[in-house]
Symmetry: C2
Subunit: 315 residues, 2 copies
């Protein structure tokens, strides 16, 4: 498949670097500053270098990126709340030309699920978005295989940055601000980590899962009750530990609950993953609870999820 | 889809009971003693009752089961080593009539992978077998999505009965024979649990995974180095625990290793699942390690995996 990668941050560049290995060709790379388009395939390494040196991926207009030579739009622009722009328009433009779309950006699905579905229904193209829930951890495909109607709940630690901070606060007995600063130094947290620590990123995941589990109604971020980890104190973590428990930022989607909040859970719970790991528990009617976990800290995990989605197109 | 269920033990009866709920019709139920065939769909509850009362599912000949009115053979006869009969012939007969096959029985894939693939290639029917590796835990579909060529290893606790025994021995400080007897009383272990505790069942899983990861060569049970848990003593478990470690029966498939053996691992390892849970760790080139776990103790987990495979047919 010929890929147009829109958004060239950590995930976009990882997709570009891995695409060839997974059997695809990158013909377009674009971001808000410009675009590089080459129907025979781009030289990814030289574009990475150029982006680093001059801050632009190329001299062409970003607008032309979506009408050029590609089969699949890989939409990996940053999260935006509310109207989910410019991601929504990017997806719409690609679908209207009967191209496929693989989303890494959660916003359009978490905020405008029905709008996306409406545009998709009129298109020959498909929209895939496995990576938007748990990155490379196969959450949506597992729900689909079991059948959403027989999944009674999904809960878990959806954000690795928040989990890194909480588990490090507990082990090292350090305060929130201190560990957050450290996480930024280590590159585990981005410079602006507000959506990670205030629970919004996890809530976007909840909204997408709710849309998959319940197809009668549309969910948006507004419907998710959200608490972050900024107010968690060392004394709470200490008290929890003395009782064989710990605190994790848990997202939960059931028929009656749509919530992100710090929760006190047993240290032996499958949800008590450490470091920048995440975990998703799928509760089923007939097959108990499945626990899926892994580390999703770098761009290459999301890139792997996106390229797996590209391979699923048309199947 | 119209299902022919061959084998009517715990898994076969769970498939029969859940089939309707998952959108399918059971037209045939057979085991070594006889068969019940009804092209409009069988009354599953009355067959369960009859099997319990007279030891037979029906008066028809088992041989007719495979030529009757069905789209998918669900092969769930017991494990047999070596030639994998009668399962292999059942699969072959179904494929030769261009029917699909979903396997719950591991033997044909672990012992005669190439023979199965050869018959499948000549058939309009497909063979699916997600449930043979980790039951409802999505191991093979995850490997397929990532691409087997980019998976560098698979390891885990593949047998819930062995794990129940080991983790209970460690916690209760009881001997192997004692805990095994208790597991049988609780229904966690079957009356004949020799393949669970001597590692053979886990080794069959290893052989199947090796066949998926390395398509250049055929693997059988003979190639797996196997040690069981019968010789594990309480003193080993105690020593491990004093060092923050524990013992688990680990199966491992890498380019250079194909092994089932008790291994000493950290208590905090993702592989240190407790009770009758199992866990599978998929090690990837580009996306780190994924850990997939859950309890697969009852027939309904395997039935769910089998019915998910039925839904995947033709896709």
């Amino acid at each position: 498949m010929r890929l147009a990668i829109y958004g060239f941050g950590e995930v976009g560049s990882a997709v570009a670097q891995l695409a060839n290995k997974y059997g695809h060709t990158v013909t377009t790379i674009a971001d808000s500053q410009g675009a590089a388009i080459e129907s025979d395939g781009l030289d990814v390494e030289s574009i990475l270098k150029q982006k680093e040196q001059v801050g632009k991926v190329g001299e062409q207009d970003s607008v032309d990126a979506l009408t050029g030579p590609y089969d699949v739009l890989v939409e990996v622009t940053p999260i935006t709340l509310g109207d989910a722009e410019p991601a929504f328009t990017n997806v719409k433009t690609a679908l209207e030309q009967d191209r496929h779309v693989v989303l890494g950006n959660k916003s359009p699905l978490a905020e405008r699920f029905e709008d996306i579905k409406t545009v998709e229904r009129k298109s020959e193209g498909e929209v895939r978005f496995e990576g938007t829930v748990g990155s490379v951890i196969p959450v949506l495909s597992t729900i689909r295989d079991i059948n959403p109607a027989h999944v009674t709940g999904v809960r878990g630690v959806f954000n690795g940055t928040a989990n890194f901070i909480l588990s490090r606060m507990a082990v090292e007995e350090l305060g929130f601000e201190h560990v957050l600063a450290e996480a930024k130094d280590l590159g585990v947290a981005e410079e602006d980590s507000s959506l990670d620590v205030n629970g919004t990123d996890s809530a976007l995941t909840c909204s997408i899962v709710a849309n998959i589990l319940n197809q009668e109604k549309e969910f948006t971020l507004d419907e998710v009750s959200v608490d972050g980890i900024e107010q968690i104190s060392g004394s709470v973590l200490e008290l929890a530990r003395e009782n064989g428990r710990t605190v994790r930022l848990i997202g939960e989607i059931t028929e009656t609950k749509l919530q992100v909040a710090p929760r006190i859970i047993p240290e032996t719970s499958p949800l008590a993953v450490t470091g920048s790991q995440i975990v998703v528990q799928i509760e089923t009617e007939d097959a108990g609870n499945l626990n899926l976990s892994g580390s999703i800290a770098s761009g290459s995990e999301m890139a792997t999820a996106i390229l797996a989605d590209v391979n699923r197109l048309g199947k």
